[in-house]
């Protein structure tokens, strides 16, 4: 019980005046500092090991990192990534459009494509293409079940590199189709209605109105896919194509410097993935241009 009403009022008022004049201190987080210290110690140990442990074999790393054979292999890896991405997304857009079409038949075609190529492991599919000439010795153009006009030896038409690009692109297209479709269905219905009400032709609607907006949802996933494909190209080493991973295997098969050469490949993969991530940042910023206030 307060001694009297008047006194309480006065003291409450005094208290408010005092409170309003006190400095504010942010909450302390001592455990954060413990965590920081622990991570720093671990990081220091790791760096120390990299420098002092002779098994990392940095001289060998340095000798091979910019060797001509490695640079050529990096070029092949980049080429496979670019072709796989461009062809994969080009076909992926087509498959996405099929799946989004109003025709049940085209929807089914798109769905079946995605189903088939997501079901087959990439490495299995690549080996199929690599060995396609066992199945079909000759490929020909002509009337189905009728006469042939031109015909090729399958081995001549599909080189190992061709088989690799084909396999990567077909595989990529299935995933790209779903990424593109997810982007397109994320665009507000009102946008399509507005475009339709303005009488903008269908293809132009897709290219000018839908796709630029869908890109915002597509890009993070697409960047994931490109980076994943970039490292996934190492799978084509099973077809004896001289990409980065195959090349380092060849070299360490000869000189047994396994760790140093794996580090050569690792560092190249890290450098190029970093460049892709930086590129992603700028492309995303471009497509977010209407979002700034």
């Amino acid at each position: 019980m307060p001694p009297s009403g008047t006194l309480t009022v006065v003291s409450t008022k005094d208290r408010s005046v005092v409170l309003a004049s006190l400095p504010v201190v942010a909450a302390r987080h001592p455990w954060r500092w413990v965590g920081v210290a622990a991570v720093l110690v671990l990081a220091a140990q790791f760096v120390h090991g990299l420098v002092t442990n002779p098994a990392w074999d940095w001289p060998t790393f340095a000798r091979y990192f910019t060797a001509q054979s490695i640079l050529t292999a990096v070029g092949t890896t980049i080429l496979l990534t670019v072709l796989g991405t461009v062809l994969g997304f080009a076909l992926g857009i087509v498959v996405a459009v099929l799946r989004l079409s109003k025709s049940p038949f085209l929807q089914a075609v798109g769905w079946t494509y995605v189903w088939a190529f997501r079901s087959i492991p990439l490495i299995v599919q690549l080996l199929f293409w690599f060995n396609i000439s066992y199945l079909y010795q000759r490929l020909s153009l002509g009337i189905p079940f009728g006469p042939e006009f031109v015909s090729f030896e399958t081995v001549e038409l599909i080189s190992p590199m061709g088989a690799a690009v084909l396999g990567l692109a077909l595989h990529q297209a299935a995933y790209a189709a779903e990424i593109v479709r997810s982007g397109v269905i994320s665009v507000d219905r009102g946008q399509l209605e507005a475009a339709a009400a303005l009488g903008i032709p269908k293809f132009r609607q897709f290219r000018r109105i839908v796709l630029p907006q869908a890109m915002r949802a597509i890009l993070p996933n697409a960047a994931n896919e490109v980076i994943s494909l970039f490292k996934g190209t190492s799978v084509v080493s099973v077809m004896a194509i001289g990409e980065l991973f195959y090349q380092v295997q060849v070299i360490y098969g000869r000189n047994a410097r396994v760790v140093a050469l794996l580090m050569v490949a690792t560092v190249w993969y890290i450098i190029l993935t970093t460049l892709l991530s930086i590129g992603q940042h700028y492309v995303e910023r471009y497509f977010a241009r209407g979002d700034r206030r």
Binding site: Q191, E193, A194, A196, G199, I200, I209, G290, D291
Partner: protein, 240 residues
């Protein structure tokens, strides 16, 4: 100029339009009033074929919208032809539907040459905002850009679907000013709105819709001050 005859439209078992007929003359301003769910928006959307009709037809200057008559049947047109027809019918949405990745000017230039786009933007008083993205504009400004965009295909008629319903009260006036200006300069307009004051001032004719049928129509003085029908009176007593 616009003829709507016996239009029926159902969504599932819900019959939204139950035989609506409406004629609009060139230069006429028709305001459509009615309670929510009465079918006013659906009626507008059938006029530019955003909704297909189940029965009845819409024609503009004698041309059927969305269909072609052939041997006693109405054949639905290909999408490409419908899109071409829609350039004669401007449509302004309640929530603007500007393209957010394009500037105000680019939104209009999507359907008109650049010089024309500038003129239309100036006409709604936003010449200084041509490089602004929709998100950088107020709701009222966005709707004015949307109106400019709807005018840019030089349509024969402009349909307004509750153009001020998504706006803060203090922004309604600037959009209604644009509509007034259009009405004064002879634009043929059909406006669905809840702004009774605007209807009284600008409409040549007011059409009152309830439960999918036109209950009554006439001059603002007739419909607003001396409604003939009980349902109209009940509606007006709630909104006036």
């Amino acid at each position: 100029m616009i003829e709507v005859l016996g239009v029926h439209k159902s969504f599932g078992s819900n019959e939204v339009l139950r035989g609506v007929s409406l004629d609009v003359a060139a230069g006429e301003v028709v305001v459509v009033l009615g309670p929510s769910g009465s079918g006013k928006s659906t009626l507008l959307r059938t006029i530019n074929h955003l909704e297909k009709v189940d029965r009845g037809f819409v024609s503009i200057d004698g041309d059927l919208v969305g269909y072609r008559q052939h041997k006693g049947k109405l054949h639905e047109l290909k999408e490409r032809e419908i899109l071409k027809q829609r350039r004669h019918i401007g449509f302004v949405f309640q929530n603007f539907n500007l393209f957010p990745h394009l500037t105000a000017l680019e939104n209009i230039a999507e359907v008109a040459p650049l010089a024309d786009a500038r003129q239309f933007l100036a006409r709604v008083g936003l010449a200084d905002k041509e490089d602004s993205y929709p998100r950088q504009l107020s709701g009222g400004q966005q709707q004015r850009v949307a109106i400019a965009r709807a005018l840019a295909t030089r349509p024969k008629v402009v349909l307004f679907d509750e153009p001020t319903s998504a706006l803060d009260p203090e922004l309604v006036g600037e959009v209604l000013d644009v509509l007034r200006d259009l009405a004064r300069t002879g634009t043929t307009m059909i406006v669905v709105t809840h702004e009774i004051g605007f209807a009284r001032e600008v409409a040549d004719r007011i059409v009152f819709i309830d439960q999918g049928v036109i209950v009554e129509q006439g001059t603002p003085a007739e419909v607003l001050d001396h409604p003939a029908h009980e349902r109209t009176r009940a509606f007006l007593s709630k909104v006036l």
